[in-house]
Structure formats: structure tokens, C-alpha cells
């Protein structure tokens, strides 16, 4: 019977909602990355977008793997342990590698967001300094004349 082995408790549903919201967050990060990248030549917006897209793909893969596992558990004949098509250890190891890559991609996105913020904070200062310098040069020039 389908759904017999599926955990439908409140806690499990909360966990599922959490996973899907994380997928949504990563999607929003990809969107923001695309918006930051458009019309700019800097590297960091691209790093942010690519890291977010990588994290989105890994999270999507982890969700699909969890769904496949659940489906296998509920398959006919139902198996107590999801040993098909891989052994249980393989599922666990693949999940661990996935969460490691997800952590790495998220960290990459975080670091690039810090750099983006630093760039955004630096630009007005830089332009102000530049305009001040230009102003100084102009006054110097006029005084020389």
C-alpha cells in the first residue's frame, strides 16, 4: 500500500517544508545573482550566482534522492531498507557528499555576498575621493594659471 511507510508526523512534515523553503531561498539567490550580474563586468556577482546555482542543483538532487528512497521503501514488494538500486551505505555516503558540496556552495555564495557588500560600500567612497581629487587638480590648475 502506498504511503504506509511514509512518515507523515508533524515533525517530518516540518522538516520537508524546511527543505523546500531552502530550495526556494536558493532559487531567490540565483535570481538575485542574475540581477546583480546583468550589465556588470565584475567577477563577484558571477561567483555569487554560480555558487547559488550549484547549491540549488545539489539541494534539488538531495530532494529527488530522498523522494526516490521513499518511493523504493513504498514499492511493491516493500523493502524495509532502501537497498535498491544501491546499498544503504551508498545512499548515506552520497547524501553526505551532497550535503558537503551544498555547504561548500553556500559558503562560496556567502563569501561572494560579503565581497559584493564591500564593493557596494566602497564605490561611493571611491567616486567621492576621485571627484575630490579631480576638484583639487582643477583648483591647482586654476591657481597655476
Amino acid at each position: 500500500m502506498i504511503g504506509s511507510a511514509t512518515d507523515l508526523s508533524f515533525e517530518a512534515n516540518l522538516e520537508r517544508m524546511d527543505q523546500f523553503l531552502l530550495l526556494g531561498l536558493l532559487g531567490a539567490m540565483v535570481f538575485a545573482g542574475l540581477c546583480y550580474t546583468r550589465g556588470r563586468r565584475e567577477w563577484w556577482p558571477r561567483v555569487f550566482g554560480i555558487s547559488s546555482a550549484g547549491a540549488l542543483m545539489v539541494q534539488g538532487g538531495l530532494l529527488v534522492a530522498a523522494a526516490v528512497q521513499e518511493g523504493l521503501r513504498n514499492s511493491d514488494p516493500p523493502s524495509g531498507t532502501p537497498d535498491l538500486p544501491f546499498s544503504f551505505e551508498t545512499w548515506v555516503l552520497l547524501g553526505s557528499i551532497g550535503s558537503l558540496v551544498l555547504g561548500l556552495a553556500l559558503l562560496g555564495a556567502g563569501v561572494s555576498l560579503i565581497y559584493l557588500g564591500w564593493l557596494a560600500g566602497k564605490k561611493p567612497v571611491r567616486s567621492a575621493k576621485k571627484s575630490a581629487r579631480e576638484g583639487d587638480q582643477q583648483t591647482d590648475g586654476s591657481s597655476l594659471k
Binding site: 548515506v92 547524501g95 556567502g110 557596494a120
Partner: protein, 159 residues
């Protein structure tokens, strides 16, 4: 291929898991710091939403991963009392306890465990919703500024 993964074993998997959790913890903090930096550079409403959202997200992920890494232990989960009473009075109704057993006081979760459990989950869920809104709004504003669409600039002008 399967034999290869099986020989690596679940111990290596748990080590990788731990490393992934540590990375996710650092990533949450890095995202929050990045959003804070963006907000300090230009304090728009979208960036404020992003800072609050990513701050809550970092807090929730941090507490969750610290618990998973074994820094502290909790035994709380929703419905623990109902389950315990069901086990004691329905499933084990025929079990006769000795006097020595009866002398022991029942130890449930500590008073703060429920708050931590609900707090970290609500922080994570609320934080993610706010962060999604923040990223979408900030992305739209960035596009509006770059290509000069008046409709997109409105949010930035208001803040």
C-alpha cells in the same frame, strides 16, 4: 561502483556530514555578514528585510548544526509527553515496576529544550521566507537601477 561506496563505509560518511554541517554553519554567518555589509552600503528596505531574514536563518541553522555536531543534547520533540504516557499506560500497562524503580523520579526534557527546539525551527523558517523576499526585492531594485525602469526604482526611493 556500489562495492566502492560500501567499502568507504558510513563512518567516512558521518565525517563528511560533520564537515558539511560546519561549512553550512559558516555559510549562514557569511551570508548574514554579506547582507549586513550590503545594507550598510545602501540602507534600502529590501536589504533590511534581507539582513533580518538571513540573521534569523543563520541563528536557526547555527543552533541546529551545533546540536547535530554534539555541542549540546536535547531530548525534546513535539508530542513527547503524549507518546510517553501512551507507552507507560497503554503499551506497558501490564508491566509491574519494582519499588526501587518507583522511587526514581521521571526525567523529562529540561525546561529550555522546548523553547530551543521551536525557536530554532521558527527562526529558520521565518528567516528563509524573509530572505527569499529580500533577495527578490533587492534583485529587482538592482535591475531597476541599472536599466532605469521607473517602476523598479520606487522601493529604493522610498527607503
Amino acid at each position: 561502483m556500489d562495492w566502492l561506496f560500501a567499502t568507504v563505509g558510513s563512518e567516512a560518511g558521518s565525517e563528511l556530514d560533520r564537515f558539511g554541517m560546519q561549512l553550512a554553519l559558516m555559510a549562514g554567518v557569511a551570508l548574514f555578514l554579506g547582507a549586513l555589509r550590503l545594507w550598510r552600503a545602501e540602507g534600502t528596505r529590501a536589504r533590511l528585510v534581507l539582513v533580518v531574514g538571513l540573521g534569523l536563518f543563520a541563528l536557526g541553522v547555527g543552533v541546529q548544526n551545533l546540536e547535530r555536531l554534539g555541542l549540546f543534547e536535547t531530548s525534546y520533540y513535539p508530542g513527547w509527553k503524549v507518546e510517553m504516557e501512551h507507552d507507560l499506560y497503554v503499551l506497558d500497562a501490564d508491566v509491574v515496576y519494582s519499588e526501587e524503580d518507583m522511587e526514581h523520579e521521571f526525567v523529562g526534557p529540561r525546561w529550555w529544550e522546548g523553547s530551543v527546539w521551536w525557536g530554532q525551527r521558527l527562526a529558520r523558517l521565518g528567516g528563509m521566507v524573509l530572505a527569499i523576499m529580500g533577495f527578490v526585492l533587492d534583485g529587482r531594485e538592482a535591475l531597476g537601477k541599472r536599466f532605469g525602469r521607473p517602476g523598479k526604482r520606487k522601493g529604493a526611493a522610498r527607503s
